[in-house]
Amino acid sequence: MTSKTISYSNAIQSGFCYLLDNFEEVFVLGQGLWSPWYVGQSMRELEVTYGRERIMDTPVSEQGSTGVAIGASLCGYRPIIVHPRIDFMLMAMDQIVNQAAKWSHMLGGQAHPSLTIRGIVNRGGEQGAQHSQALQSWFAHIPGLRVVMPSTVSDARDLLIASVLSDDPVIYIDDRWLYDNEEELEPVVELSLGKIGPKISQEGTDLTIVGIGHSAYQSRVVAARLRENGIYSEVIDLRVLNPMRVETIIRSVRKTGRLVVVDGAWSNCGVAGEVIASVVEKLDVQFLKASPVRVTLPSAPAPSSGALEKNYYISESRIASVCVKLMGDKKVTSKLERVV
């Protein structure tokens, strides 16, 4: 780390500090908060600085502790409940989906579960099927939840702050594969989550690559490689999965005519398919130079053995080859170019 850059995990840590320093109503609970283990380097010794009353380690009770956070949020607090793996959140789905997502609506806008639920994507390393999931598509399916997945260091901090300051229940999903990425960071500006949408990470004219969280990072890496080979891709970091806004993506695809969506999760009823469906629904099909493509996980649980893991997860070269193939489909390209 040079003197000016900071890592993704430290950016999360600095988001926590900002919130805890400036907002009395913020407190944190979750498993592993009194230990460096679970949460990587993203919450180091917070309990020492802010005390165990504000940084509460919990028993192994995902559903109960999520409910506790909801209850406190209904009484003027802004709790952050940390689930060190998204897999464990399956225990807490009633509280997240039946309760947090619905109280505002079903009580006529009079109750606001203003909690943030931080779910960490933590996989690889032969952790196997129950310790590797990325369930962003599930949360995106539920009206009432806001869902964010930061892919950059600054978003890691700023979207956390925006999530906690939102009056709605927010699922904030970070990915441990991003923790060591580094970036320079501007001073904090508090953003309104409702105004944040997809962001063009890199402009381009040949094809549009949409990524989500870690896959947005990978898309940027791939775009740089493609550029070296004369392919100019526009990379869009989806950032907010629910409510999802696709205008930026549609504008981009109208320009490029080609769409690749990368999501490190399962395909069926997933975010990648959603982006494609949203685009083709709203974009006149004549603008498409080729069929959109998604790059997702195989339809299988995560294997344990490293021999299978290495082909299971999405590699940058796989993304790149999909892009190249899409560009190479000259027949379609030339024919439709006449149309546009």
Partner: protein
């Protein structure tokens, strides 16, 4: 199959008039009126169900009025109370307006939840009623969280969680007990043990009919009382709250009772319930919490029957007015559907 509750679950017992000694008559009359109000509201809603005007699923609490009234007697509007699918009494006992409840079950915009919730989703924030929902067990950890907020606030307020014997079969409720215990959270668990979860008798669902055993396992202070004796409920609540308000953690109140109506709707549902027999309903009606208090007062010559009858008529009249007003309330507007999704 253990009948650990003894007389508390035996409808042939505990049918005597309530002993009102030591209580101020004015207070007792207020308590009576609250219970009567709740009973009458439920009877009116039953009528509205039968007439087809109320369409949302409604779980009536007829026969269980003493619990919410006894508990609420020691609550203040800065406490944070959470209910269940069967929460009309919880809402009304805290001072929720009958008109808003009627409007809500009629699906109107003036309803306590703006017509977005119906009977199973009630809100009465200004009275301390922060919400009820029909997912069994769903509000129990939420009430613990509200208690945690109260603890952080430091004004001696408490969370209150109403739930049933059936809810004790949901794992999350046990998580909530432990969390309340370990964090010493000021929350009052009120287990309305009416011996049934929808059609199923407690003995078909659990090895003992006594719910407090779960609280004891979590080292939570327990009171187990006759839920049809409003003064016993109030007293047990007071005992438990005293400790909680001082920051000594949670309390658990098990109140044994019986519902006169079926699980949902206006019918008696005899024999819909496995083991729900007409003779039990008749027997339990002899343990009517309202009649028992009234008889206690009459026996002590604090009030006579004609005074009670006049009072009852007054309540009825007010309710008719409330219903008529509720029926005049508009329905929600179409934009409400999307406007309430996010803050």
């Amino acid at each position: 199959m253990n009948y650990d509750l003894g007389d508390l679950s035996n409808p042939a017992k505990l049918t005597d008039p309530i002993d009102v000694s030591g209580w101020n008559t004015g207070e007792l009359i207020e308590i009576y009126k609250k219970m009567r109000l709740i009973r009458n509201v439920e009877d009116e809603i039953a009528r509205l169900i039968n007439s087809g005007e109320v369409k949302c699923p409604s779980h009536l609490c007829v026969g269980q009025e003493a619990i919410a009234v006894g508990v609420s007697y020691h609550l203040r509007n800065t406490d944070r109370v959470f209910g269940t699918h069967r929460s009309h009494s919880h809402y009304l006992a805290l001072g929720g307006e009958p008109k808003s409840l009627f409007a809500e079950v009629l699906g109107r915009r003036d309803g306590c939840s703006k017509g977005m919730g119906g009977s199973m989703h009630l809100f009465g924030g200004k009275h301390g009623f922060l919400g009820s929902v029909p997912i069994v067990g769903g509000t129990v950890p939420i009430a613990v969280g509200a208690g945690l907020a109260a603890k952080k606030d430091g004004h001696g307020d408490v969370g209150v969680s109403y739930f049933g014997d059936g809810a004790c079969e949901e794992g999350v409720v046990h998580e909530a007990f432990n969390l309340a215990a370990i964090y010493e959270i000021p929350v009052l668990f009120v287990c309305e043990n009416n011996l049934f979860a929808s059609h199923m008798d407690i003995h078909l669902r659990q090895p003992s009919d006594r719910m407090s055993r779960f609280a004891e396992a979590n080292r939570i202070n327990v009171q187990t009382v006759d839920g049809n004796d409003v003064l016993a409920v109030a007293k047990a609540t007071e005992t438990l709250l005293e400790k909680s308000r001082k920051g000594n953690g949670p309390g658990f109140l098990e109140v044994v009772t019986y519902r006169w109506k079926g699980h949902v709707g206006a019918a008696d549902d005899v024999d819909v319930g496995v083991l729900r027999k007409e003779k039990d309903i008749i027997a339990w009606k002899k343990r009517d919490p309202i009649q028992r208090l009234r008889q206690g007062l009459v026996n002590q010559r604090k009030m006579d029957d004609s005074e009670f009858n006049a009072m009852d008529r007054e309540i009825s009249k007010d309710l008719m007015r409330a219903i008529n007003e509720a029926k005049k309330s508009p329905y929600p507007e179409q934009n409400d559907l999307l406007d309430y999704v996010y803050a």
